[in-house]
């Protein structure tokens, strides 16, 4: 269970991790500047297990994998958004950062609400309001990828069995 941090539509990768910090790629460095230009208090106050809530087209812009890496390293348990930009979605899956697509949940969660997610069943519970939501399930191939723990373990496994 964690606290919801709510952001708007079109949260871009420059806001998630500004390019001025991309001269390094250590996860803790990225986490320290995560969301800095949208909410300067985020990095200092986010707690392990907290959830990030976004509107439509979350993660638009750059291909920088540093964006989901920064969110993951900041301790965020899952991202819940109305929709995702393509490269961000793929990057998050590839590095094992849980992301859920559920417009109803986004509308039904306010900043600061206590939220729990079950990644197996893609269900989201708003503990503060006593409501629950079902996110869009991942297509079978992506479930396989998630089950393997991301693309690198998936490719490793496939090569071992080849």
């Amino acid at each position: 269970m964690g606290k919801a941090w709510k952001f708007g539509h079109d949260i871009d990768t420059d806001v998630i991790i500004p390019a001025r910090y991309l001269n390094r790629f250590e996860p803790e460095h990225l986490a320290a500047h995560c969301m800095e230009d949208a909410d300067a208090s985020f990095a200092a106050n986010v707690q392990p297990g907290d959830m990030m809530i976004g509107g439509k087209n979350f993660g638009c812009g750059s291909s920088r994998e540093h964006a989901p890496l920064a969110i993951k390293a900041a301790g965020v348990k899952a991202i819940i958004a109305e929709s995702y930009a393509r490269i961000f979605y793929r990057n998050a899956l590839n590095i094992g950062m849980p992301i859920l697509e559920c417009p109803e949940a986004v509308r039904g969660i306010e900043a600061g609400d206590e939220v729990e997610v079950d990644l197996q069943s893609s269900t989201i519970q708003n503990i503060s309001k006593g409501t629950s939501f079902q996110a869009t399930p991942f297509p079978p191939f992506m479930q396989e990828l998630i089950k393997a723990g991301g693309l690198v373990p998936y490719v490793k496994e496939k090569r071992k069995n080849a």
Binding site: D10, P18, R20, L22, A38, R64, N91, R159
Partner: protein, 424 residues
């Protein structure tokens, strides 16, 4: 039922006769690209795979262009990781400072990317190569690592949106940048999310390669997976001078299925300005007229090509940059810079009071070489105007084509180029 050019390229690389949108395929890659920001992360992931060799040293491109010439010790360390990897694996397409250019200007110019190719690049503007009739898409570092190791990647076959431009007459100074900004203004920054954007019609056929590359470069700003233009004689003339290997030309079938078709008349499209903080916030240059600016940036992977410098020099010729403006010009590659020098354009720019740089992505993403202070406003030919994109989170970036940027640099405020050229 026929296939689109995108579907044909994906099918051919997956080794199947037909693919349909929504299908997930595994496909062979012709080029895997990465830069000095994304490659260090990719190399780290590649090493986790425990594979000794890259799949094909001829099909990997490593382009250190973002923080180069190295802006600080940290970026020098990142570049060293890339350089060491390139040397260890004998990566064919690796260039260093003094030879390197901005990746999406450099790869088409050097004939590394060709029609019919399937390309992934750990840079979102990899979609630029669609201008050559290739299917090229941006990915992250982990996809790039797997690509460098296996020569394959998984793809969800995208639906295609068709953008037809009727007519061959354009309003004065209108180019590829205005067409793509116009589209993004109409459909929004997620209007083509997960889709291939096919640009077609007589209006597109009338465009030079430089203008087509600009258009496909910004497909990602509408959320597109790829931007693509069927090769024609203009494409083939460009490619023939550069290709050092075989390539294949694909065309969409007349009965190909499109998710949606948008039609425009080229004459209806005015010069565009994208207001902060999204490329979809477009207005005509008339609506932006008189807006005071502090910095003008001309260049980048979007508009740093020869024709962009040509129009810039033409407008700046014999004039002076406004005293309140810093005008920064970034040619896309060393070859472009050399050609611009031999044609006298660089001298014209410097005489006008512009700062001309070696090729780098620096200012476009707020990396170095032109960072904005709090409250400052830039007019830029780059591709994004997100919050903090070029520096301070309270600075602003407006996007436009090089003619508008150059004319505005002279006036100190946003103007239509005719105010400088025709009345100057």
């Amino acid at each position: 039922m026929g296939m689109t050019i995108s579907e044909k390229i994906l099918a051919a690389h997956a080794g199947v006769d037909k693919v349909v949108p929504g299908e997930i395929i595994n496909a062979k890659l012709d080029v895997v690209l990465s830069n000095d920001v994304t490659a260090p992360v990719a190399i780290k992931e590649f090493e986790k795979l425990g594979i000794e060799k890259v799949f094909d040293k001829e099909k990997i491109a490593l382009v250190p262009d973002h923080f180069t010439p190295n802006k600080d010790i940290a970026s020098a360390e990142q570049c060293k990781i890339v350089r060491d990897f390139a040397r260890k694996h004998e990566v064919k397409h690796y260039w260093d400072t003094g030879r390197v250019g901005i990746e999406h200007c450099l790869l088409p110019e050097q004939g590394v990317v060709l029609p019919g190719d399937l390309i992934i690049g750990a840079d979102s503007h990899t979609c630029t190569y669609g201008a050559l009739g290739a299917f090229a898409t941006g990915v992250g570092s982990t996809d790039c690592a797997a690509g460098m190791a296996t020569g394959e990647a998984w793809f969800r076959v995208p639906e295609t949106l068709k953008f037809v431009f009727h007519g061959t007459k354009f309003q004065p100074y209108v180019g590829g940048k205005d067409l793509i900004l116009y589209i993004i203004g109409k459909i929004g920054v997620d209007g083509a999310r997960y889709k291939a954007m096919e640009f077609t019609g007589n209006g597109i056929k009338a465009l030079s390669m430089d203008n087509r590359l600009t258009m496909c470069n910004m497909a990602i700003e509408a959320g597109g997976k790829a931007g693509i233009i069927e090769p024609d004689e203009i494409t083939l003339a460009y490619v023939k001078a550069r290709a050092k290997r075989d390539y294949k030309v694909y065309h969409s079938d007349p009965d190909a299925v499109y998710e949606k078709v948008y039609e425009f008349d080229t004459e209806d499209i005015p010069l565009q300005i994208a207001f902060p903080h999204l490329p979809e916030n477009t207005k005509s240059v008339e609506e932006a007229k008189g807006l005071k600016i502090d910095q003008v940036v001309i260049g980048s992977c979007t508009n740093g090509r020869l024709e962009d410098l040509e129009i810039t020099a033409k407008i700046l010729k014999g004039k002076k940059i406004h005293p309140n403006i810093r005008c920064l010009i970034f040619p896309g590659t060393q070859d472009i810079l050399l050609e611009a020098m031999s044609r006298g354009w660089i001298q014209t720019m410097i005489e006008a009071g512009a700062a001309v740089s070696t090729p780098t992505c620096g200012p476009c993403l707020g990396g170095h070489m032109g960072i904005l202070a709090k409250g400052e406003r830039a007019l830029s030919t780059t591709n994004r105007n997100f919050v903090g994109r070029m520096g301070h989170p309270e600075s602003e970036v407006y996007l436009c084509n090089p003619a508008v940027a150059a004319a505005s640099a002279i006036c100190g405020q946003i103007v239509h180029p005719r105010e400088v050229v025709d009345n100057g």
